[in-house]
Amino acid sequence: MAQDGQVTVTGTVVEAETGMPIPGVNVIQKNTSNGVVTDFDGNFSIEVPPNTVLVISYIGYATREIDVDGSTELEISLELSTDALDEVVVVGYGTQQRRKVTGAIEQVDGEKLNETAVLSIDIALAGRVPGLTVNQTNAEPGRDEARIFIRGIGTTGDNSPLIVIDGVANRGGFSRLDPNDIESVTVLKDASAAIYGAQAANGVILVTTKRGKEGKPVINYSYNRAFVSPTREVELADAALYAQSVNTLASQQGQPDIYTQDQITAFENGTAPSTNWFNAVYKPNSSQERQNLSLRGGGEAVKYFVSMGTSFQDGLIRGDETSGYKQYNVRANLDAQVTDNLTFRLDLAGRKEDRKFLQFENATIYSSTMRAAPDILATIDGLPARGRERQNPLAIAQGPGYLGLESNIFNGLIDLNYDFPFMEGLSIGGWMAVDVNDDFRKHFYQPFTFYEDTDGDGELDPVKAGPDFNNTFLRQDNINRQSVTYNANLNYIKSFGSHNLKGFLAYEQNRIESNDFFAQRNGYQSTQIDQLFAGSANSDFQSNSGSATVLTRQNYFGRVSYDYDSKYLAQFIFRYDGSSIFPEGNRFGFFPGIEAAWRISEESFLKNNRIISELKLRGSYGELGNDRVDAFQYLNLFTLGGGYVFGGSNVNVLTPGVAANPYITWETVRTYNFGVDAGFLRDKLTFSGNVFKQIRDDILGPRNVTVPNYTGLQLPDENIQKVENKGIELESLFRNNVGDLNYYIGGNYSYIKSEAVFLDEGDVYPEDYQRAEGHPVGSTLAYDYLGVYRSEQDLETYPGLNGNARIGDPYYRDVNGDGDINNADRIRIDLNNVPQIQYGFQLGGDYKGLELNANFAGQARANQYLRYSFSNGNNAIAYFLENAFDPEANPTGTLPAFNRGNNVLSTLWLRDVSFLRLKSIELAYNLPDKWNSRIGLANSRISVSGFNLITWDNLKEDGLTDPESVNIEGWQYPHTKNISIGFKATF
């Protein structure tokens, strides 16, 4: 029954290509919330005014608007939207349509990287790709790159993946690219990486930058400002706890009290000051900013993308105007269609990265904060006080010294491609890339000033601390690295009926040359001028040196892809790689990959199935190499260095390196992958899964067990170790729309575990259960902590470590049951700070210009050693002091007495660093068109986002460090989170 002026419109929605009805389609009266969804047979019924417009939309199809125009029965057909099917995946030396991919390849849209406001953009990959471990182990501005592994740890050697930017390997600097310039990031996890041969064993990350698009020029401007703060405050002991603990420790050592009860009481009731050094040194927040301006457009002949960006971040230490990170980047990507057959491409990118740090090692600065006694002041009258060992970070931060790292980076590429007119599908191409990195390092090491009343007149006096005159210095290093790559390729693409063929053959060579030198002068009388000439004129106080390296590679490779009707797919990849790292005769290796896939959903029995829209089985096998080892290991080398003194003068000294290994070669991994890709309800719901196994042979390692030290041989690494790595990866994504609300929810999970198969362990362990073989790479030996000796009875019950035990010591499990606790009782600990399980989920959506995106990243089965050291003058985290057992002061303490057992690795100090983190969340509003046109913009968007805002983990409750920290005592720059505001405009 129609209401006033309303009519009931019924209809059926079908797929245009097949005429099949589509269930679940949204049918909405335009500009209202009045809507219905089609039933299983594609039918709907809706009450609307007679002359309205219906919006018909469904994920995977092009949205249509239908003018009802008085009709009450409609037959609506929807065209498949081409986006989803024609999505292009970068595969290394080419691209493939998503549906034709046969390997384990993941691709992240560049836009996603922009959701996280961080200057090291690799961090933004965390949680987004199954099998990709992304941990930020340090948050210091400029040193905050993520630690990335593809499919975990597969070797005892170098596990870092190969990173390829716009087709050129080893360019470096991925983390410092401007996210506004990035089109996509692709991860090759299996045999598909074989196209990178001897460098591909740890997987490959392909980064593609944006290129020009046909259309009128579009200017984009974006601005983002973030407020960065520590993820958490490490809960250091306050003065009362500290003083009490110092006394307890002294009494345990048979020494008298250091603090009187009166003093402790004064600390407790606040009449004597207690310094919270964490808060005294670190600001609640620092700032970070990124801006980008780009122009994109083009005609038929020339397309262009040009962009320029700046970013900066400053440090968290109060009063520190030295440290920080600044970046400027420019890029111009041009494509020209010179003639019908000839294309020309030119990419130019430049980047300037300026890093400044304080003059001391990080360990000095951060441990001076964490260890400073809380009964000493951080500042007096606002001026930095002495601090721990005259190393108050506040004083260091205000001093004239610094460490500056300036990098100027140029990446250029020129590419020509010619389509042969006489043979369709055949083309030839060649490109040359030049990458230059100029690093300029400047370390000015100078005294700094703290304040105290040295002469007792009640006035503060400046006191110089840090290096004395002879040890002040300025050191400048120049490191110039250049890499030149040439590539020539022959390509063929052709379809014969249902047979589709695509392939290429290529030759590539690369030479990387690095030159460095430094000069240093000591003895700076003044800090006014930080230049070499201002140092000592005495030549004993001047030094310089320089060196160089050259690395070359020569490669032949190709790929053939074949499919029958997009149903049966196969691909063969090979690479024949030569490298100057290895001796002549041993330089070249052959790396094949083979992949096959069957798209069951294209078979007649599944084609046009209403539920299953895509079902693909994939399998691959490949042999990949890892050549990331030091060059010239096949030679006996003697290097100058070390130095010695005769008659008061330095003399040259030659020191032999490790013995030569004339047989050295690369590691080889055999990788097997089996995968499934599925889509349901026209890909509204997608699922993808992989199981894989990698067997890596010829890993370089020393024969540490079979060759004794008394031979005096500095053993070379030999290709003897073997590691297996297995895992499973799952991911799923559900996208839907309800009226104007589009939303998605997706998740991924991976469990990856390595096993050291052979490490040449011989009989070196007293007990078989101590062998590293059979355990994951990176396993350690540790005593199994059971408890604390609390009584004489405990001392009699449990044997002591190496026969010694006192009340308050930890006791350990007698694993071999021989009545003694010694090194034979250590057990293998499999977990370390590279997680075996990682997962992530993403959810979000948009509604009428409002957008929300959230990314959660989590990890499990990961451990980190976290321990402390404490003494009079060295504070520790409150948790450790509060819980340290003492028969009188703290008889219920759950940890051993102060410092007991913290010099041996035991399960006592092992902490579970599983976590789930709201890695990023972004709320954005796209301004309505009418507002935009009023201010002369095409589009504009304002956003608020957060990074690392919420973390669930097991360390927080004990006041310990961030779970991503890998410093065993927490002496590290605090991990950070941020909240940012952003603005984007398109002209």
Binding site: Q255, N470, E584, V707, N709, Y710, N822, G873
Partner: protein, 554 residues
Amino acid sequence: MMKYLRKLNTVILGLTTVLCLTSCSEDILETKPLNGYSEVDVFADAALLQNFVNGTYRSLRTPFRDENTFTDGLTDNAYNQHGSAENQIRRYTRGEVSADNGEAITFNLWADSYYWIRQTNLFFEQIENSSIEESELSRMKGEMHFLRAYNYFELLKWYGGVPVLTETFELGQDSYSVERNTIEEVVSFIVEEANLAIEQLPSKTSLPGGKASKEAALALKARTLLYAASPLFNEGGDQSKWQAASDANKAVMDLATVSLVEFENWDDMFRGDVDTEVIFERQYTQENSQGWGVNLWLFPNSNGGWATITPTQDLVDSYELTSGELPKESGEYDPQNPYVNRDPRFYETILYNGAPFKDGTYSPYLDFEDPSNSELAGLDSRISPLSPHNASKTGYNFRKWTQEHRGEQSGNLGPYIFYRKTEFFLNYAEAQIELGNEEESRDALNVIRQRTGMPPITASGQELVEKYRNERRVEFVLEDHRFFDVRRWKIAPQVLDDPAKGVEVFRSDSGDFLYNYNLTADENRTWDDKMYFLPIPFDEVQRSGGTLEQNPGY
């Protein structure tokens, strides 16, 4: 495959010459290292070979190499704090030494020594048919014989008999098994090597300081023979070994090219300012100093030092009064005014309450009325307003080896002295006691006593032995002797089983001091007879295939 690819390559290459220009070539993979020399060059070129020999001097291990490497901290002389002391030194002095942690106190002596021994063996193998002139080679040979002997002596001191290896091993040998040689065999090898060095090396008068000389080789041989005659290494009590020790030490004692310093220069010697007495040392410069430096480790807290190693009360008590009596024997000694009229070496070796140091005074005291008031406490006290954890835990600091005129962080720029002439007077005296010639012994001993300004020793029998041992102790503080002396004399159970003690000083309002001797720095020192030698590292025994026999007790 390769052939086919090459052909293909040529085709593609031809088509892209424009891009490739001239840089594509077949020998692109031929590169050479730009940061070092190959072994062929090194052993054929006299200058490079000398550089290699120079490098082998880096095997000389001094207590300046790192924090906590003075062996006195493992004896009744001193107490170590900080860093590895908490772990390694304390673990050792508690008797918790085992086959897998013994190397912690030597900082991997076993592996290091054999690493350097291999360099010397490689040298002798490679120069066999060398084209380098014999005149140029001969001195280098002497240096390498000396260094090989030095390294074997280090091993002998710590482990007893060790495998004497004179040839290099190859990679990929079927077996690397070796057996330990006896102490006698190691000693005779060291003596042989030292004799070759004595033959081939010139006198130190013609050499720059720090170079191995004929005198250095004589000294090495003399010390080795003294050790070899001592009870720990001479289980049968073979008197002829004492005779050999006596002769070798007499030879060094009688050297005309080195002479004892006057006592007024005794302290300058340890700062590197006077070297007449020095037979062999390792020198340092700004660029070639190791670690943070001895000043930082030894300086008191008031001067920015770490007080890493500090004297015990037991050491302080071993300094005689100027009368020649020990405090415990003397009626004149006043424990409440303890630092007057002591052996002059006391004042040059130890910083005690009231000792002048740099621009100030060493002040470890607490206020008598209010011992917890850090305002009234001395800057070197354990509640110092400076860095209390860097305060001495014994109430004393060391002065010896410090370079007072330099800052605390100036590296170790003074030399470390391995052999100086005084030692050989004392070594000779020891041998003469054992040979029953007390008169001869006292004469040698009294040369040193007289130089110091202490009254001559007249004692005999066991009393003479005690006097001699005490003389050696106070003369050689922080010179790497005490640790080995108490072992080779086998008196460790008597001296290394006691807590490390210090003194607590209080200052009254009137400025008087009160000394309390009940302060304990380390209660848990234990001696176990297995500690006479270090264990052979566990891994090494395993790797030898079981042919290396472990030392007793491990």
